[in-house]
Amino acid sequence: MIRIQAEDFDTSAEIARLTSGRGDVGAVVTFSGLCRDEAGTLAALEIEHYPGMAEAEIGRIAVQACERWPLTGLTAVHRFGRILPGQNIVLVVAASAHRQAAFEAAHFLMDYLKSRAPFWKKEHRIDGSTGEWVEAKESDEEAAARWR
C-alpha cells in the first residue's frame, strides 16, 4: 500500500496492518526516515512532490520488490509539506516469512525511492533565510544502482 500524505504516520499501526489476523508473517522490517537538524542550523524542510506520479512511481518500485522477494506485505508512506527536525519523513514496511527477504526488500525500496520518487526538499534555516534546495547525492544513485 502506497500513501502520500501531509500527516504523520504510526509505525506500530502500519506493522499491525500487515500482520494482524495472520500466521504466515515471520519477519517485519521497517525503515523510518527523519528530518535532521543539521547541527542546529535547520528550522524546517519543505517537501514538494509531483501528485499522481509520486504514488505511481513508488507503486512501480513496490511491484519490482514484490516480484523480487517473497513478501507477504509491503507499505510505503511519504509525507509532504513542512517537516520539523526530529519529525518523520518516510516509512517503509516490508513483511515476509523470513528475515532476509524483509531486510532486502525494505532496503531496496528505500534506495530506489531516494533516487526515483519525485520529491524535492527545500531547507529553511534557523537564521530566517530560505536555504537551498537539497542537492541529490551521488551516493544515493550508487545505492540504487547496486540492486541492478
Binding site: Y50, M53, E57, P118, K121
Partner: protein, 84 residues
C-alpha cells in the same frame, strides 16, 4: 496542446507551476523540447542552462532525453529527486 509542469527550482526560475503550449512540429524529442524552451525567455534559460541534469517525465513516467514526445499529454520537468 501539451501541458508542461515544473517542480522545485525549475518552477521557481521559470516562475510558473505549469502551462499549456503548442509545440512546433520539429520538436520531436525531450532534448528538442528542452532546447526550444530555453529560447522562451530568461527564466527558462536560467532553469534549463544545464539540460543534462534536468529530469523529465512524460505522462508521469521517467523518460530519457533521447525519447520521443509524441502522444504526451503531460510533460514534467524537475531537478534530480531528493525524496526519502
Amino acid at each position: 496542446m501539451t501541458r508542461l509542469i515544473y517542480f522545485a527550482w525549475i518552477r521557481e526560475r521559470i516562475g510558473k507551476l505549469e502551462e499549456e503550449v503548442e509545440l512546433p512540429s520539429d520538436v520531436t524529442t525531450v532534448s528538442d523540447l528542452l532546447q526550444w524552451l530555453r529560447g522562451r525567455g530568461e527564466g527558462y534559460e536560467a532553469a534549463l542552462q544545464q539540460p543534462k541534469i534536468i529530469r523529465v517525465a512524460i505522462n508521469q513516467e521517467h523518460v530519457e532525453h533521447r525519447e520521443p514526445i509524441a502522444g504526451a499529454r503531460e510533460i514534467a520537468l524537475f531537478p534530480p529527486m531528493t525524496g526519502g
